[in-house]
Structure formats: structure tokens, C-alpha cells
């Protein structure tokens, strides 16, 4: 493997409460470009916690998180914010959209914060992403007017806005029925491999995890197994038929 996109080295995270809580313990994990990784484990095993650490939303108590081979430990909070803005797309278990903004405006927010595109380009790209995710008819609606599955797809669209190489999804299908789950899974699976994008998704759904390239299993904050279903792909696979073939202009 070349330089991993994201790497955890001996990461432990302890919540410093009166009774310290060990969220993640001594985790080593490296994810390369284009991988589609499932993180599984029983409830409370530290899956979400690990995802926050990989997305530098949270910092390890000991150990290191590296993004593109760069240590993130000594970065300022502004540098981390900049890295998240460009390099990481988050999809939370619950959609977490801004309720006052329309669907298309929600998708536009990361691009507007980045400020690399003009207002017109942002609008066009937002519409483009939403169309590819099958939400062309819902762009002007408020999040509350959408179904759970639709909102989750909007969240995915927002995560894709700045074309980050890494997508982190925390049980993106956890609150969806099987049809909607399937749809979101298809999208994520299509994203992985596009221009070397990696997707790390926490999931309860063993069936879904089985269909991903790699499955990391956690118990009590420790990695107990890390199985590759498919051989490592050097460059990524062909773009899927539908959802997320989103080129970077």
C-alpha cells in the first residue's frame, strides 16, 4: 500500500470523567485510497468514537492520527477545521441538516465556506450532486419535508460537496428501512473508488458489511478482526451505474 489516506497508530481515547471511560483502546488501522471499509461491532463498542477520531473531530488521549501521512496531533484547531473542510465528508447517524436552510442550500454550505467557487458554480454543483443522488425534485424543500432516506441522501450530498478524498459515515442506514438502506449503501459503494475516494462506514447490518471490501470488527474499543473481502484495489474500480459519479471540475 502507498501512503494511507488515514491512519491510526496505537490510538487510545479515554474520556476524563470522574470514572474515566475508555472509548477506544490501542487501535492500529490504515485505510488507503479507494477502500470501502465497514466498521462493525456491538453497541457501545466504540465505533462512533473511532470514527470521530479518524475524522479529527476528536483527539486521541494517546497515539496518533495521520491524514495523508501527516500527523494531526500538533495542529491548531483552525488547521484541523481547514483539513475537515477540504478533506473529510461526514455523514452522521441522524441526518443533521440545518433545518432553516433548503436542501440545496445545505449542500452548498461547505462550498461557500471554502470559497473556491463562485455562487453560480456552487449552485450548479449542488444541483448536480443532488440530481445524481436522485433528489432533483426536492432541492428547494426544507429538510423537514423529506423522508428519512431522502434526508440521509442530502447528508451524503453535503459530505461530497467539497469533493473530499475521505467519507466517514456513522450508521448512515441505521434509521432507514431496507429499501432506503439499500439505496444509501449503493451510493456509498459507488463513491468508493471514484478518484480514489475512501469510504469508512459504521454499520450494524452484517449483511451490508459482508458486501464491503473490508470489515473491521470492534469489541470494547479494540479491533478484534480486520478482514479483507476483496483484494486491495490499486486505483479504484469503475464508476457505478447510477448515483455518485461526481467529477471534480
Amino acid at each position: 500500500m502507498s501512503v494511507p489516506l488515514v491512519e491510526a497508530r496505537g490510538v487510545t481515547r479515554i474520556l476524563p470523567l470522574t470514572v474515566p471511560v475508555r472509548l477506544v483502546e490501542d487501535v492500529d488501522l490504515a485505510v488507503g485510497p479507494g477502500e470501502l471499509v465497514a466498521i462493525t461491532g456491538p453497541s457501545g463498542s466504540g465505533k462512533s468514537s473511532l470514527l470521530y477520531l479518524l475524522g479529527i473531530l476528536d483527539a486521541p488521549t494517546s497515539g496518533e492520527i495521520l491524514l495523508n501521512g501527516e500527523k494531526t496531533h500538533a495542529m491548531t484547531s483552525d488547521q484541523r477545521a481547514a483539513l475537515r473542510l477540504r478533506g473529510i465528508g461526514f455523514v452522521f447517524q441522524f441526518h443533521f441538516l440545518l433545518p432553516e436552510f433548503s436542501v440545496i442550500d445545505n449542500v452548498a454550505i461547505p462550498m461557500r465556506r471554502l470559497g473556491a467557487l463562485s455562487g453560480r458554480e456552487i449552485e450548479a454543483r449542488s444541483a448536480d450532486i443532488l440530481t445524481r443522488l436522485g433528489l432533483a425534485d426536492h432541492m428547494r424543500k426544507r429538510p423537514e419535508q423529506l423522508s428519512g432516506g431522502q434526508r440521509q441522501r442530502v447528508a451524503v450530498a453535503r459530505a461530497l460537496a467539497n469533493d473530499p478524498p475521505l467519507i466517514l459515515a456513522d450508521e448512515p442506514t441505521g434509521s432507514l428501512d431496507s429499501a432506503a438502506s439499500e439505496q444509501v449503501f449503493e451510493i456509498l459503494s459507488d463513491i468508493a473508488g471514484q478518484d480514489g475516494k475512501s469510504v469508512i462506514a459504521v454499520t450494524h447490518d452484517t449483511d451490508m458489511a459482508e458486501r464491503m471490501d473490508r470489515r473491521v470488527h470492534l469489541i470494547d474499543g479494540r479491533i478484534v478482526s480486520d478482514e479483507r473481502r476483496r483484494p486491495e484495489r490499486p486505483t479504484g474500480r469503475a464508476p457505478g451505474p447510477g448515483a455518485a459519479g461526481i467529477p471534480l471540475e
Partner: protein, 412 residues
């Protein structure tokens, strides 16, 4: 940044009612502060204008502020004498001609030299104690507003030749004398002369109208039995604010007590200063209270929007961005309240300026004095903005610092 402002606006819109209440608080605070300042400044200005008009800007008298060094002090270094009052020098200002010439060379204004003598006026068996001021009419007219107060005769008629006097109307009434009547004035020196009344004045100041007698300087010098004597120099300046400096310089040059109008009215001006301090304290207090309203609502919003803050931070917004959002909310309320308050203040000021009230016996219709000064607006709106920004900053800082993961953990 527009995006941050948009986010701030959505938050404020979501709390429209509380926002209106706190904006109204700022509006009322700023509006009443401005109106109050206009009224207070107005009454002060009017008072000071009257004051400046009514009295000499600098008055130099034949007194000294400190007693002369006593012979014993001069003789022995160990001797110090306290509690002495400077003695009046009956000779008046020594060498008045030279003193006046000196003053005229540098004082930017009109100068009138006078001699004060006390005495008694008699007419038809009635005696009244009077204060006689000898002046040169043309100089006096440049220094005082007495010409405006003349009710009959002309002040300049004093020059007509012979012993002539201009007296207060109340004095004339008490004496039973009228224009062109001849009254006898005896000075405390024992010298007495008959004076023809060539004019009457009414200043509105009772003491002046009842006791003041203007005569020519020469006549006063005759009464005082002191040729060329002068004991009262009054100066009217083009710029009244220069009075203190002029008085200080005159005192230094002449070694005589020189009192500016500011010094003469020190206690009143001090009272005004205290009043202004009280006013600005009250204004600040009102605005702080209004600031609490803003603090309160921004705090509510930060709690309500904790999840949104976490989302935005996870997307890649910096702490600073989040702080700006909430400070913008505070500033928005403060700015809106300040702008509306400035309007309210202007309206109240304009309204107060039209209020009329009749002052004694319906002789004059007086308006409530108001002063329009942009500084009042700048101070009130500036204070409102500052308190609002602070009121936004405090909760904003706390909200921005929070770790988004804590909130996300709690939510999932």
C-alpha cells in the same frame, strides 16, 4: 462573510419575538438617552449663553488673592503667617492708564475700565443705598448688554455733559423719580452731586435694578475724590471660551485678581458637570440592562442551536466563524435597536422642542431648550453597539469553544 450572516439571520428569525423585545429594549434605551441628553445639554447651553451674555467674561478688580508678605515674614525666615485676608487697597488699581494700555495691546476683545463707589441716592426726601459704577459709555456698551435693557432714554446720553446718570427702573420707582428728574447722590467719601436721570433700564435682576447707578467715569472719580482712579476692569471677548486663559495672563501681568466667567460660576458649572456624569451613568445603566436582554437571547440561541454548531464545526467551520455568527446576532440586535433608537431620540427631541410653556404673567412664550448634537447619537448608539457586541460575545465564546463531539455523542 455572507454565509455567517445568513446563518445568524436564520437564528434570529427563529426567535423573532424575543428578538423584537430585546431590540425594543435597546431602542427605548437609546431613544430616551438621546432625548435626555438633548434636553440636558439644551438647558445647560441656554443657561451658559444667558450667563455669558449677562456678565463680563473677565473681571479684574483691585484685589489680590494672597495677602502681601508681612514684614515679620520678610525679616525672619522662621515666621509664617496664615489666615490673613488681603487688604483692600483704597487707591484702586495703581497706575490704571498703564495697566489699560497693557491690556489693550493683547486682549482679543473689548475692555471697559470702571470705578465702583457706594453711596446714597436721594430724591424728594427718599434715600436709597446705591452702587455707583463710573464708566465710559462707549466702552461699556461694547462690554455689556445694557443697551438692550434700556426702557427709556439712551445709555449713550450719559455723555451729554454735566452730571448724568442711568438708573434701574425699580430704583427710580422707589425714589419716585422719572426721566429727566435730578437726584442727589452722595458717596461714602462725603462728596455729593446732583445727577440728571437720562435713562432707565430693566435687566430683570432685582439687585441690579434696585441699586445700580451708571455714571461717567469722571463723575465717579469726583464722587470718590480720586482722580484717574479705576478699580474694576471688565473684558468682553470675541471667544468666551478664551476667558480662563485671558484671566490667567492678566492676573500674571497685573498681579490683580482676574476672574473669568467660568471661575465666577464655578459651582454652577460643576453642578452641570455632576449632572452630566449622572446622566451618562443612567444612560449606561439603561443600555447595560438592554444588553442583558441581548445576552439572554443569544444565550438561548446558542443552547438551542448547539447541534447546528456541532454540525458546522464538523463540516470545517472554525471556532472564530461560530463566534462571529453569534456576535453578529448581538450586533444585529444592537445595531437595529441603535438605529431605531436614534430615530426615536430625534423624534422625541423634535417633539420636546415644540413644547411651549408660559413663564410668569404670559409675557414671554418659552420653548423647552433642546440641543441637537451628533455626539449624543454617536455616544448612545456606540454604547448600544458595544454592549450588544459584548452581550453577543460572551455566549458566543462559550458556544464556539465547545467540542462538537460532545454534542454529537449526546445526540446519537
Amino acid at each position: 462573510m455572507r454565509l455567517l450572516l445568513e446563518i445568524a439571520l436564520t437564528h434570529v428569525r427563529g426567535r423573532a419575538r424575543q428578538t423584537i423585545v430585546s431590540v425594543a429594549g435597546v431602542t427605548l434605551g437609546v431613544g430616551f438617552a438621546i432625548a435626555m441628553a438633548a434636553l440636558m445639554q439644551g438647558s445647560q447651553d441656554e443657561f451658559v449663553t444667558t450667563l455669558i451674555d449677562a456678565m463680563p467674561h473677565v473681571q479684574i478688580t483691585d484685589e489680590t488673592r494672597t495677602p502681601r508678605t508681612q514684614p515679620a515674614e520678610r525679616a525672619y525666615a522662621a515666621v509664617e503667617i496664615h489666615g490673613l485676608r488681603p487688604r483692600d487697597d483704597p487707591r484702586g488699581i495703581l497706575n490704571p492708564v498703564e495697566a489699560l494700555a497693557g491690556l489693550r495691546s493683547w486682549v482679543p476683545g473689548a475692555i471697559s475700565a470702571g470705578l465702583n463707589v457706594s453711596g446714597v441716592a436721594r430724591y424728594g426726601g427718599t434715600d436709597r443705598g446705591v452702587s455707583i459704577l463710573g464708566i465710559e459709555p462707549e466702552d461699556e456698551l461694547r462690554v455689556s448688554k445694557i443697551a438692550q435693557d434700556m426702557t427709556s432714554g439712551k445709555f449713550s446720553d450719559l455723555v451729554g455733559g454735566g452730571f448724568a446718570a442711568v438708573i434701574g427702573d425699580s430704583l427710580a420707582e422707589r425714589l419716585g423719580a422719572g426721566l429727566n428728574d435730578s437726584i442727589r447722590i452722595s458717596a461714602s467719601t462725603g462728596v455729593a452731586r446732583n445727577f440728571k436721570i437720562v435713562g432707565l433700564f430693566h435687566t430683570g435682576v432685582v439687585a441690579t435694578d434696585e441699586t445700580m447707578v451708571y455714571v461717567r467715569l469722571k463723575s465717579a472719580q469726583v464722587l470718590a475724590a480720586r482722580q484717574n482712579a479705576v478699580n474694576d476692569i471688565r473684558i468682553r471677548l470675541g471667544d468666551p471660551d478664551a476667558a480662563s486663559a485671558v484671566a490667567a495672563r492678566a492676573e500674571e501681568l497685573l498681579a490683580l485678581k482676574s476672574v473669568s466667567w467660568q471661575e465666577a460660576n464655578e459651582s454652577i458649572l460643576e453642578a452641570f458637570a455632576v449632572r452630566n456624569i449622572i446622566m451618562y451613568t443612567v444612560v449606561a445603566a439603561i443600555l447595560v440592562v438592554a444588553g442583558f436582554g441581548i445576552f439572554n437571547i443569544v444565550s438561548i440561541i446558542t443552547h438551542e442551536k448547539a447541534r447546528d454548531i456541532a454540525i458546522l464545526k464538523s463540516i470545517g467551520f472554525r471556532d472564530r466563524d461560530m463566534r462571529l455568527v453569534f456576535m453578529a446576532e448581538g450586533a444585529l440586535m444592537g445595531g437595529l435597536g441603535g438605529a431605531l433608537g436614534a430615530g426615536l431620540g430625534a423624534a422625541l427631541t423634535a417633539y420636546m422642542g415644540t413644547i411651549e410653556f408660559e413663564f410668569r404673567e404670559a409675557t414671554e412664550v418659552t420653548h423647552l431648550p433642546v440641543t441637537w448634537n451628533w455626539i449624543h447619537y454617536a455616544i448612545a448608539v456606540g454604547l448600544a453597539l458595544a454592549t450588544a457586541a459584548l452581550a453577543g460575545y460572551l455566549p458566543a465564546r462559550r458556544a464556539a469553544q465547545g467540542n462538537p463531539v460532545d454534542i454529537i455523542r449526546g445526540a446519537t
